[in-house]
Subunit: 151 residues, 2 copies
């Protein structure tokens, strides 16, 4: 099977071709990093392919490796700054079939834990999740941006 | 922060330390590959760390890279053999915090599509999902095993 290593033409209805997919923090190589603005999961970042490809294996190995170095760098910032119960990594793309990695800090008190963020809500959280992080999101964004530049 | 690169002692209650986590297909380096026996998602494989580590970033870079080469190899087999609507990749670990990658072929007719496999069921599937794959699971397992050996 031919692997479309150079990606396909961006479909006009792809939301990750036509919008950043979150607050744009960094861009380099084939990747950008954004923070998703989600009240339930405030420490939720995405590493998004700049080219429209559907699947991880469609990319050449150096680009795959770079994406995982970026995912890893974001994860380390989340672990060191937030001490989350768990970090969740995922590239699903069922709704937006444009390659992107979710990197999400999860806490045993969050709205869905231990379910996935796509599963059933387990509880309401009060005070709001963002207030429990112990760091301002803009400061966290700054550390993520710095880590991406070094990855 | 110290990163426990060599892993932690296996806790006695970790299900991925005490059991294979599926039908064992292959093992090499720090990884094993199993097929999860799931009626809704018959083409569901896992790449599981042999050592008990919680998070992807706790591993040294060569082991991280090997895991993603294995994930990619499994994904290519699923794409080439099954032509799925999408492949889902995820390392969550909220329930079993022992590093493992899910590699799941998804179809627009499956029980949960376009929701994640952890989301709400969308439909019943009849005939059963396994019968729709167009290949016997044992043959698919054989191709996955061969691909892992070459990754």
């Amino acid at each position: 099977m031919a692997v479309p290593a150079e990606g396909r033409a961006a479909p006009s209805d792809c939301e990750l071709c036509s919008s950043a997919g979150g607050r744009l923090l960094w861009s380099g190589g084939n990747w950008r990093i954004v923070r998703v603005q989600d009240t339930d999961f405030p420490a939720f970042y995405r590493v998004i392919s700049l080219r429209h490809v559907r699947e991880f294996s469609e990319l050449p190995a150096p680009e795959r490796q770079h994406s995982m170095e970026l995912v890893c760098a974001v994860e380390r910032v989340l672990i060191e700054q937030l001490r989350p119960t768990k970090v969740n990594l995922a590239a699903l793309g069922n709704m937006a079939p444009h390659l992107h990695w979710h990197v999400i800090a999860r806490f045993d008190w969050d709205s869905h834990f231990p379910q996935s963020i796509w599963g059933p809500r387990q509880r309401d959280v009060n005070p709001a999740a963002e207030l429990r992080l112990g760091i301002e999101l803009e400061a966290l964004d700054g550390l993520v941006t710095a880590a991406a530049s070094g990855a």
